[in-house]
Subunit: 105 residues, 2 copies
C-alpha cells in the first residue's frame, strides 16, 4: 500500500481498533488470562505456559504494555507483570458501546 489511511478515521474508532488489534492474537489473550489466574506473574512463568520462545513472548508483552493493558514491575532481575484493570475497564466500556450501537446487545 502507498500508506495507511487509518488516521482518517475518528479517534474513538482508531482507539477501539487498536485495542482490538492487541486482542487479535491468541497468545495475548492467553497471557491476559494467565496474568489473572497465576499467583506469580513473572515473564518466565508466562513463557513456560506458551508454545513460543522467550523473545516472542517478550514482544507480545511489549504490545500489551504499549496499549496499557498490562503493567510491569521490576523485581530484582525479574519483571512481574499484572493486568491494568483501569484500561481494560475502559476497553470493555467502549466495546459495550460499540455492540449496543451495532446490534442492540
Amino acid at each position: 500500500m502507498a500508506f495507511s489511511k487509518k488516521s482518517e478515521f475518528t479517534k474513538e474508532d482508531i482507539w477501539l481498533a487498536d485495542i482490538a488489534k492487541v486482542l487479535s492474537h491468541p497468545a495475548r489473550i492467553r497471557i491476559l488470562k494467565l496474568l489473572n489466574s497465576m499467583d506469580s506473574c513473572m515473564v518466565g512463568n508466562i513463557v513456560d505456559q506458551l508454545p513460543l520462545s522467550q523473545s516472542t513472548v517478550s514482544q507480545h508483552l511489549k504490545e500489551l504494555k504499549r496499549l496499557d493493558l498490562i503493567e510491569g514491575e521490576i523485581d530484582g532481575p525479574k519483571v512481574c507483570y499484572c493486568i491494568n484493570s483501569k484500561t481494560l475497564a475502559r476497553a470493555k466500556k467502549e466495546l459495550d458501546k460499540l455492540f449496543s450501537l451495532i446490534c442492540n446487545c
Copy 2:
C-alpha cells in the same frame, strides 16, 4: 516467521482473536456502525462514507463476511449488506466472558 503458531492455542482463544482481528481496523468498525445507521446498506453508500477505494472497501466487507459479522443480499446489480446480529451477540458474549475473567468488569 517460519510459520504461525496460532493453531497451538485453544479453539476458543483462536476464535476470539479472530473476531478481534476483524474489529482491528477503523474502517471495519465504521462499516459496522454505518450498516446499522443507514436506511440502505448498498456497497456504494458505504464506499461514499469511507476515505477508501471501492476495491479496498470490498476487501474489508469480505473480511467481515468471512467471520459472519455481516451478510450480503443480492438485489439486482447491487448488493445490500446487513449486520448479522447472531454472530455479533456471540462475540459480545465471549468478550464479556474474557473481560470478566481478566478484570472482573
